[in-house]
C-alpha cells in the first residue's frame, strides 16, 4: 500500500463546498436547536435558584445521589455546573450524533447511493470525499462550541466557563467525527455505520456513568472525583474539564488526539477497500434456506439476532461489573448509603443495591424491547412486509412472530444479566448458587412491567406505523422518567409515578413478591396487544408507493 499523497486530496475544497451547500439547513438546525436548548435550560435553572432554590443543597443532592451521578459529574456549587450535571450527557450525545451523521452523510451515504461513483469519475483524489466529510463535520463542531457558549453567556453564565463548556461538549462530537470516519470504512451501509457509531456512544456513556457512580464525594458532598472508567470514555473527558469548577483545558487534548488517531485509522482502512464496499467483504451465503429460517418467527429471529446478541454481550458485561461492585457497596456510609436504602426500600444495603440494579437492567431490557418491536415498522414502511403477506402468512402470524422473538429475547437477557451479576456477587459474598437464584427470580418478576412498554409500542406500531418511532421512544422515556429510578428523585406526585409500569414491578430480592401487580401488569399487556391486533387486521397497510 502506498502512502497517501496530497494528490489524493485533490478536489477536497470543492467537495467541502458541496457538502456545505447540501447541509445549509441541516447544520444550522442543529446549532440553533442545541443553542436554544442550552440557553433555555440554563435560564430555567438560574431562575429557580434566584427564586430561592438552595444551590448548595441541590448540588449536594446530585453529588451524593448515585443514580444522578450516572448522568453527570459535580464540580462544586454553581448554576453552570448544575446545568452541566443535568444536561452534559444529552448535549454531548447530540453533538456526537450531529458530527457522525455529517461524516456519514458525506462519505458512506454518497457511496451507498452511488453518488460517490459519479463524483469519483471527475477530478477528485481518493481521499477527497473522506476529507471533505471530516472537514465539514469538524467545522460544524467548532461552530457548535461557539453557539453553545453564546447560549450560556446569554443566560448569564461567565464567559470563560461558557467557552470551556461549549468546547467540552464539542470535543465529544469531535471524537465521534473520527469514530464515524472509521465506521464508514467498516460497514457498507450508512445505517450500519451509524449503528456502530451509536453503539460506541452507548459504551462511552456507560463507562463515564459507571466511573462517576463509583467515584468519591468530597467531605462537603459537593464535588465528585470520578473512578477510572470515566477516563476511558470521551464523554468522561468532556466532563473532566469542569468548566464552572476548577476549569482545566487539558482533557480536551485527549479528544483531539483521539480524533487524529481515528482519522488516521480511517485513512489506512479506506486505502484497503473499493468504492462502495465495506472493509468487511460481501460474503456469499447459503444457496438455499435452512429449515430454521422457514417460518415468520425464524425470519424475524434471523433479522434481529445481531441486535439481541449485542445487547446480550453488553448486559452480561454490566452484570459481571455490577455484581463485583457489591464489595464497594457493602462499605458505603452516610448519604450515599441512604440513597440506596431509600431507593431499595430495605435497610439491608446489599439487597437494596440489588433492587436498584435489577430495575436498571430492566430499563435496558425495555430499551432493547422497543428497538426490536420497532422493526415491525421497518418491515411495513420499508416494503419487506409486502412480499411476506403475499404468501400464506397472515397479519396475525406476522405480529405473533415479532412478539414471540421480542419477548423471548427480553426474558433471556434479563436472565443473562441476573446470572452474570449473581456469579460475581457470589465471588464477593460467597454462596454463588443462592445469589444467582435470587437475582434470576428478581429479574424475571421485572418482565411483566417491561412487557407493558412492549405492548404499548406494539399498539402504536399497529395503529400509526408512520409515527411509531417518536411516539414509542417518548412512551419509553416517560415510563422511565416517572418510574422508580428517577420519579422519587424528581419529587413527582404519586399518581404520576403510578402511571409507569416500572413503579409496580416488585422490589425483589428485597421485598416479597406478590401476584397481584404481576397479574395486573400482564392484563394491561394483553389488552394493549389485543387492541394492536384488532387495529392491524382492519387497516390498509402503509406500503411504499
Amino acid at each position: 500500500m502506498r502512502a497517501p499523497t496530497t494528490a489524493d486530496l485533490t478536489g477536497t475544497r470543492r467537495l467541502v463546498r458541496l457538502a456545505a451547500r447540501r447541509d445549509r439547513w441541516t447544520l444550522p438546525g442543529w446549532w440553533l436547536g442545541l443553542g436554544f436548548f442550552v440557553a433555555a435550560t440554563t435560564a430555567l435553572f438560574a431562575d429557580s435558584f434566584a427564586r430561592g432554590g438552595d444551590l448548595v443543597e441541590e448540588t449536594r443532592l446530585v453529588a451524593t445521589n448515585t443514580g444522578m451521578r450516572l448522568i453527570g459529574l459535580t464540580s462544586g456549587p454553581s448554576v453552570g455546573g448544575y446545568m452541566l450535571h443535568r444536561e452534559f450527557v444529552t448535549l454531548a450525545v447530540l453533538a456526537a450524533l450531529m458530527g457522525s451523521f455529517a461524516v456519514i452523510r458525506h462519505t458512506r451515504q454518497n457511496e451507498e447511493l452511488g453518488r460517490a461513483e459519479l463524483v469519483g469519475s471527475t477530478v477528485v483524489g481518493r481521499y477527497a470525499g473522506l476529507a471533505a466529510g471530516v472537514v465539514i463535520a469538524v467545522v460544524a463542531e467548532v461552530v457548535l462550541a461557539l453557539v453553545l457558549a453564546a447560549g450560556m453567556v446569554a443566560a448569564g453564565l461567565p464567559v470563560a466557563g461558557s467557552l470551556l463548556a461549549g468546547a467540552s461538549v464539542a470535543s465529544v462530537g469531535l471524537v465521534w467525527v473520527g469514530v464515524a470516519a472509521v465506521t464508514c470504512q467498516l460497514s457498507s451501509t450508512a445505517r450500519g455505520a451509524a449503528g456502530i457509531a451509536a453503539a460506541a456512544l452507548g459504551i462511552a456513556f456507560g463507562l463515564s456513568g459507571i466511573g462517576n457512580m463509583l467515584g468519591t464525594v468530597d467531605r462537603l458532598g459537593l464535588r465528585v472525583t470520578s473512578a477510572w472508567p470515566s477516563w476511558l470514555s470521551p464523554i468522561g473527558w468532556g466532563q473532566q474539564t469542569r468548566p464552572f469548577g476548577d476549569a482545566r483545558w487539558w482533557p480536551l487534548l485527549l479528544a483531539l488526539l483521539a480524533l487524529a488517531a481515528l482519522v488516521a485509522v480511517a485513512v489506512v482502512l479506506a486505502a484497503r477497500r473499493d468504492v462502495g464496499r465495506g472493509l468487511w467483504p460481501e460474503r456469499t451465503g447459503p444457496a438455499g434456506a435452512a429449515r430454521t429460517l422457514l417460518s415468520p418467527a425464524g425470519l424475524v429471529w434471523r433479522l434481529q439476532r445481531n441486535v439481541s446478541a449485542g445487547w446480550a454481550l453488553s448486559l452480561a458485561m454490566f452484570g459481571l461489573v455490577f455484581g463485583n461492585l457489591t464489595e464497594q457497596i457493602r462499605g458505603l456510609e452516610g448519604s450515599a448509603r441512604d440513597w440506596w436504602i431509600e431507593a431499595g426500600g430495605t435497610d439491608v444495603i446489599v439487597e437494596a443495591y440489588q433492587v436498584s440494579i435489577i430495575q436498571m437492567a430492566g430499563m435496558f431490557v425495555a430499551i432493547h424491547l422497543v428497538q426490536l418491536l420497532l422493526r415491525m415498522r421497518v418491515d411495513e414502511v420499508g416494503g419487506t412486509l409486502e412480499p411476506l403477506l403475499a404468501t400464506g402468512v397472515t397479519r396475525t402470524r406476522w405480529l405473533g412472530a415479532h412478539l414471540a422473538v421480542a419477548v423471548t429475547s427480553s426474558v433471556a437477557l434479563m436472565v443473562l444479566f441476573a446470572v452474570a451479576m449473581g456469579l460475581t456477587t457470589g465471588q464477593v459474598l460467597g454462596d454463588t448458587g443462592a445469589h444467582v437464584r435470587a437475582l434470576v427470580g428478581a429479574g424475571l418478576v421485572q418482565v411483566p412491567g417491561i412487557l407493558v412498554v412492549g405492548a404499548a409500542v406494539t399498539a402504536v406500531v399497529c395503529v400509526v406505523p408512520r409515527w411509531s418511532v417518536p411516539i414509542s421512544w417518548s412512551i419509553l422515556l416517560a415510563t422511565l422518567v416517572v418510574g422508580p429510578m428517577f420519579g422519587p428523585g424528581l419529587d413527582l406526585p404519586a399518581w404520576l409515578q403510578d402511571t409507569s409500569p416500572f413503579t409496580h414491578s416488585p422490589k425483589a430480592p428485597a421485598a416479597a413478591v406478590t401476584a397481584a401487580p404481576l397479574l395486573g401488569l400482564t392484563a394491561v399487556s394483553l389488552g394493549l396487544a389485543a387492541a394492536a391486533l384488532v387495529s392491524l387486521r382492519r387497516r390498509t397497510l402503509s406500503l411504499p408507493a
Binding site: 456469499t284 447459503p286 444457496a287 438455499g288 429460517l293 433479522l303 412480499p387 403475499a390 397479519r395 406500503l543
Partner: protein, 303 residues
C-alpha cells in the same frame, strides 16, 4: 370456472386522493391478461387490493372465488406475486429469500427452482444487498414462478431486466399459459404484452377505459389508409367518415372508422386507385390514445 379475478366498481381513497375510482377488471381462468396504464393510474393499488394488503373503500372483488380481504392467507396459498418495487431483506441471500417466500406460500417445485435459476442466470449465494435492481427482480420472479399455483400476479416484473432475460421471461410465461395457469401481467413493455396477453385492460386515473382482446381494441380505433389515385380525390374532404385528411398530388392519407371503410372505399374507386395501404392501429397508438392528454387521436402520416 371463469373469473379468476372479478373486480367491479373498485374504489380506494388514500386521504383525499382517490387512487381507484370505479375500476372494473375481469381476468378469466387460464388466460394471460395484460394490465396497462400510465404511471400512477392505480395498477399497483389494484393488485394490492387483490392481495388483501389494501382494503378497498368500495366496490366488489372476488379472487379465485373468495374474498381477498377475509380469506387472505388461504387464497395466497393458491397464488404467487411479484411486486413492482422489490424490497427484500438485505442480509439474506437470494436463495434463502426464494426458499422462504415459496415455503411460506406452501412450497416450490425444486426442479423448477433449479431450472429458473439457470435460465435467469441468477447466483443464489449472494446477499440481497449485493444484487442490482434487475437481479433483485429475478429473485422475486424465481420465488414466484418456482411455485406451482393457479394465479400469478406480476406487477411490472421485467422493468429491470435486459432484453435477453426479457425473452427468458416471455418463454416462462408461455409455459404457464400452456399449463393452463392464469396470469395478470401489469407492464409498460408493449411488445411483451402483445406477445403474451390474450386480453388486456387499460386503466387511467383509477378507472377502466378499455378492456378486451387486441382485435376488439383495434376495432375501436381508426384504421389509417394511404392511397394513390389517378385523379386527385378531392371528394374525400366532404365526407364525414374521413378524418385527418392530408392530400398531396395523387396521394391521400386519412383515418377511417372500421365500420365506414366500405363507404369510403366505394367513393375512392371512382378516382382510380393505383395503390392502397390500410394499417390497423398499433398497440402503441392505442396506448397513446388512452395515455396521453395531448396526443392526437390519429397520428398524422405521410408528412
Amino acid at each position: 370456472m371463469d373469473g379468476a379475478v372479478v373486480a367491479s366498481g373498485l374504489r380506494k381513497d388514500f386521504g383525499t386522493t382517490r387512487a381507484l375510482d370505479g375500476l372494473d377488471l375481469t381476468v378469466r381462468a387460464g388466460e394471460v391478461h395484460g394490465f396497462l396504464g400510465p404511471n400512477g393510474a392505480g395498477k399497483t393499488t389494484t393488485i394490492r387490493v387483490l392481495l388483501g394488503l389494501v382494503r378497498a373503500s368500495g366496490g366488489h372483488v372476488v379472487l379465485l372465488g373468495g374474498d381477498p380481504w377475509r380469506e387472505t392467507a388461504s387464497l395466497h396459498r393458491r397464488l404467487a406475486y411479484v411486486p413492482g418495487e422489490v424490497n427484500l431483506w438485505p442480509n439474506l441471500t437470494g436463495g434463502e429469500v426464494i426458499d422462504l417466500l415459496a415455503d411460506l406460500r406452501g412450497g416450490l417445485v425444486p426442479a423448477r427452482r433449479a431450472d429458473l435459476l439457470e435460465r435467469f442466470e441468477l447466483d443464489p449465494t449472494k446477499q440481497v444487498r449485493a444484487y442490482s435492481k434487475g437481479n433483485r427482480q429475478k429473485v422475486a420472479l424465481v420465488a414466484a414462478l418456482a411455485s406451482d399455483v393457479e394465479l400469478y400476479l406480476l406487477d411490472e416484473p421485467t422493468s429491470g431486466l435486459d432484453p435477453l432475460m426479457e425473452s427468458v421471461f416471455q418463454d416462462v410465461v408461455q409455459d404457464l399459459r400452456h399449463r393452463g395457469r392464469t396470469v395478470l401481467l401489469s407492464s409498460h413493455i408493449l411488445s411483451e404484452v402483445e406477445a403474451l396477453c390474450d386480453r388486456v385492460t387499460i386503466i387511467r386515473n383509477g378507472r377502466t377505459v378499455e378492456t378486451g382482446t387486441f382485435a376488439d381494441l383495434r376495432h375501436l380505433t381508426r384504421t389509417t389508409v394511404v392511397v394513390e389515385t389517378v385523379r386527385r380525390p378531392d371528394a374525400l374532404a366532404a365526407m364525414a367518415e374521413v378524418h385527418d385528411l392530408s392530400l398531396e398530388d395523387g396521394r391521400a392519407s386519412f383515418g377511417v372508422d372500421p365500420g365506414d371503410l366500405d363507404t369510403v372505399l366505394t367513393r375512392l374507386v371512382e378516382h382510380g386507385v393505383r395503390s392502397l395501404v390500410s394499417t390497423p392501429p398499433t398497440l402503441e397508438e392505442l396506448f397513446l390514445r388512452h395515455y396521453g392528454d395531448e396526443v392526437p387521436q390519429h397520428a398524422p402520416l405521410g408528412a
